[in-house]
């Protein structure tokens, strides 16, 4: 089932237009991230560059937890990689539809692989109506909206939201943690997640107690993920 790897202006525009509304859903989070990044000492320009090049809100928010000088580059790499592992799965699901895609076009496809854009386009690919132009157009619009929203947050942090007490009163200091909770609630699949998540929680709390810094995210994530995989293999209930 090979799908079109052709990109036309018409399909690019159509993909871009339809992802404007889903992209706007990232506004509150983006503004919250911009505020949080400013309070961590990042300039508005640095936040903007980060948002456009990394374009992974949850991973960026997790990385902010590690943000202390000297900047822990290895921990940042591992944390962002692990926090983005769902994209690994999305990329794997996408590949069979673009088997002949030229190597130099692949990084752009990876870049625009973000949750809602991937979901909308993979559904079309599965129906045999996939279009790379729509995929890239939608992803770039979402990147621009995400970047713009974090820019707004950064500007607000230096103006209206520069008062930490106001940020606290409005609950905006909670945005980062709220994203983890909300996305986790969206991912929760019931009983099969309980034991792996319990292992992750215990491992994270233990790691926080044992190690300085924020390695607890990596330790908890790895422990819970491996335990979940082990359980699935033992029960033999992994979906084929």
């Amino acid at each position: 089932m090979s799908l079109s790897a052709r990109v036309t202006w018409r399909s690019f525009r159509a993909g871009a237009l339809r992802m404007i509304l889903p992209g706007l859903a990232s506004l509150p989070f983006g503004i919250g991230f911009g505020v949080a990044a400013a309070h961590k000492g990042l300039s508005t320009l640095e936040t903007t560059i980060m948002s456009f090049t990394v374009m992974a809100g949850t991973a960026q928010m997790v990385a902010l937890d590690l943000w202390a000088r000297p900047l822990p580059l290895l921990a940042l790499f591992i944390t962002v990689f692990v926090a983005n592992l769902r994209y690994f799965v999305m990329g794997a699901a996408l590949q069979p539809f673009l088997p002949q895609l030229a190597w130099y076009k692949q990084p752009l496809v990876w870049f625009v692989t973000v949750d809602q854009n991937w979901a909308v386009n993979i559904a079309e690919y599965q129906r045999g109506k996939g279009d790379l132009g729509k995929f890239i157009g939608g992803g770039l619009v979402m990147a621009l909206i995400w970047t713009g929203s974090t820019l707004l947050g950064g500007l607000a942090a230096n103006g209206l939201l520069s008062d930490p007490n106001l940020v606290r009163r409005l609950g905006l200091d909670f945005v980062g943690v709220a994203v983890f909770v909300v996305v986790a609630a969206m991912l929760f699949r019931g009983k099969r997640d309980l034991a792996p998540w319990a292992v992750a929680i215990v491992a994270a709390l233990g790691a926080k107690w044992l190690f300085a810094g924020n390695w607890y995210i990596v330790v908890g994530g790895m422990a819970g993920g491996l335990f979940g995989a082990f359980l699935e293999m033992r029960r033999g209930d992994a979906p084929r």
Binding site: A63, G91, W110, A178, A203, I217, G220, G225
Partner: protein, 101 residues
Amino acid sequence: MLHADTLVAIAVMALAALAAKGGGFVAMRWLGRHRFVSAWLRHAPGAVLVSAAVVPLVQNGGAYMAGAVAGAVVTRTAGGFTMGLFAAVGAVALARAAGIQ
């Protein structure tokens, strides 16, 4: 203002994000679908998220706990990221207005 070390860190983060996104795409060419790898990939994102959430929740208590409960409940019942996010942040603001820290 731009700091050289910040730009290096951002480049590392961008590389990590691209590696995660492209890794699955590239790996599918030659790894196939090994069951343990697939199972780990299914569990790892949720485990990362709860690990990232639990420590600040335990450290901050009260208002954060109220926000987490509100966010999770609204996300599961009303459905959706934005509603859940507003509920979580709103619950923290309300809890603090009620004197819960």
